[in-house]
Subunit: 352 residues, 2 copies
């Protein structure tokens, strides 16, 4: 497939920088800390609706693009061959919290594709969900790769390798055929060139590529609208979006930002966080994509800024949606006894 490079691609002329969004951490009456957020709102044709900070900020999307990385799972035919359910497709797009639900869903994906957990090359870490981590620590001394927040994505990679008759070993390497497909899809969706020159290694050992924030926002607008994509890709994206919308806990976990927004906004917002303060979203009905990067890598700040932008950009939100986004835009700081001692908020510059 061939896509025109969006107007703001790496190859294009520069766009002026604007002041970044600022998220403040307020304790008592003082601003204890501040975060600077680059934010881009784009349409699916690559045009920019608005931005804050540097719209060309080269950004490793990390886990924010897992849905794009999961496209190969559907487009190769592997998902249908192995009968993956909508919940399993959601887990392929997920940075999950390692609860039993997540672990069993990942295990089911591996079972269907004929793999043992040892085939996962993501590495192991304790569940992000503290209760699950404590429960697990009562049963075992070590977590397994199934508990890694990326195990669903990796189970998808393995399924692609099996379906295509490839040697699965080393499927995380940039030159493995699975990663080549995944990288090509990412380049198409965001309209960028990806190569060893802008490549690094993600926490789960797969490649991650530095991409201008505006290109990420464009890619997310396309996730939502399907514009300029093949019918097969449009259908694959719709299955992924529906799988996530119908299984909000699968995309992250109990109490987590991504899951809470998804549970309340359903298919109206398709949203995914990545490490180091990346947060991307599609608002399909508005034809918009949003990409945020906290300059300092703090996800707490990106979440606050995203809630603020969604309040502005989501057309006629329901009362529940507005209430949730207001809550997420002003999370409270509590001390260890549960009393409120401060809050976070986007600090809007005068004249905005």
């Amino acid at each position: 497939m061939s896509l025109p490079l969006p107007r703001h691609s790496i190859a294009s002329a520069s766009i002026e920088k604007r002041p970044p969004l600022e998220v403040g951490v307020i304790r008592g009456k003082e601003t204890e800390s501040t975060h600077q957020i680059h934010a881009v709102i784009a349409r699916d044709d690559g045009s920019l609706v608005n931005w804050h900070g540097d719209p060309q900020r080269r950004t490793f999307p990390r886990s924010a693009v897992k849905s794009i990385q999961a496209l190969s799972l559907l487009e190769s035919g592997a998902a249908d061959r192995f009968g993956f359910t909508p919940a399993e497709l959601a887990l392929a797009c997920s940075s999950h919290a390692g609860t039993p639900l997540h672990v069993e869903t990942a295990r089911s994906m591996l079972d269907k594709a004929g793999f043992e957990p040892e085939a996962l090359e993501c590495g192991a870490h304790w569940p992000l969900d503290e209760g699950s981590a404590r429960a697990l620590s009562r049963a075992t001394d070590d977590p397994s790769p199934l508990h890694n927040n990326c195990s669903g994505k990796h189970a998808g990679f393995l399924a692609v390798a099996r379906h295509l008759g490839l040697d699965p070993a080393g499927y995380v390497a940039p030159d493995h055929p699975v990663q080549k497909r995944v990288t090509a899809t990412l380049a198409e969706m965001c309209g960028v060139r990806l190569s060893a020159a802008n490549r690094a290694t993600d926490g789960c050992s797969i490649p991650t590529y530095a991409i201008p924030l505006a290109s990420l926002a464009t890619g997310f607008a396309r996730i939502g609208t399907g514009a300029s994509l093949s019918a097969a890709r449009q259908a694959a994206l719709e299955r992924l979006r529906r799988g996530v919308a119908d299984n909000p806990l699968l995309i992250a976990g109990p109490g987590r930002f991504d899951s809470r927004v998804t549970a309340t906004c359903g298919p109206r917002v398709f949203l995914k966080s990545g490490a180091e303060g990346v947060l991307c979203a599609a608002i399909p009905e508005a034809g918009l994509g949003i990409a945020l990067k906290a300059e300092d890598g703090a996800l707490r700040a990106s979440e606050v800024a995203m809630a603020w932008l969604l309040l502005e950009l989501l057309p006629t939100p329901t009362e529940d949606q507005r209430a949730l986004l207001n809550e997420l835009h002003n999370p409270t700081l509590k001390n260890w006894r549960g009393s409120m001692v401060g809050f976070l908020a986007t600090m809007v510059a005068a004249g905005r």
Copy 2:
């Protein structure tokens, strides 16, 4: 006691801002994230040796001033009355990791002063040390206030209350006589006025006060040199510094920055971190105090910047000291399989 306000106190004229220190998070060949650090290096007379960023940045020191908060424990006579050991004095200055060593030391302090753990008003949280948290979760469903990283400090407050014949209930409140003493000592050490106007509540429920960074640095210089302090306070500070230097694990925990620096530098560096990216140090032999605040609250950045400053400011470090500080200045980012994928470093501006 009466101290002159240092020249850079709140009441004094403003000092020009300079570019902050920048700490970069490097992944592959790209700068993935950056942190801005305000840093002040001061002498014990309040004069500034050097600074980066805003030397007057109003900063909640949080746990960084626990040693100053512990002075009341010695100056009231409570520490001697209850026979507190050097390790127990170190725990009073500590943000500890909740290992069994820390918990038993806190319990011993409470025992000696005649309190049950329930008297602690710091709230409970799981041990910061992950191994200790997992071990604890095998034995119990809930952590106790003893596991709170501030339990040693709070045990000290309770001992002061008992020694002075005060009702200990509510000892965390700003108007409790214990906190009034603690606040007065902090104001004296840093040469600042503290009141409800610049007060907020710390995570462990005690008051925390916004203080210009330069005043914090001056306070730390005085911790190291004792200049302009009474003989009793000098002796108390020396006991606290020696207790920490002789018990480096007590000030934080295994593998933690504060404990590693203390274990290797001993009495040459007295150093303490606080939440939201605060890190303060005294270098007694150089007569210097250092105070850092990451604008975004990221302790990982303050640690990198502190290691860099100590490499510069510690006179003739030993080989071990230099090796450790170099390591702490360039911590590696590893993926979940243990491979290095990046690092952090102070990004020095040209012409510095």
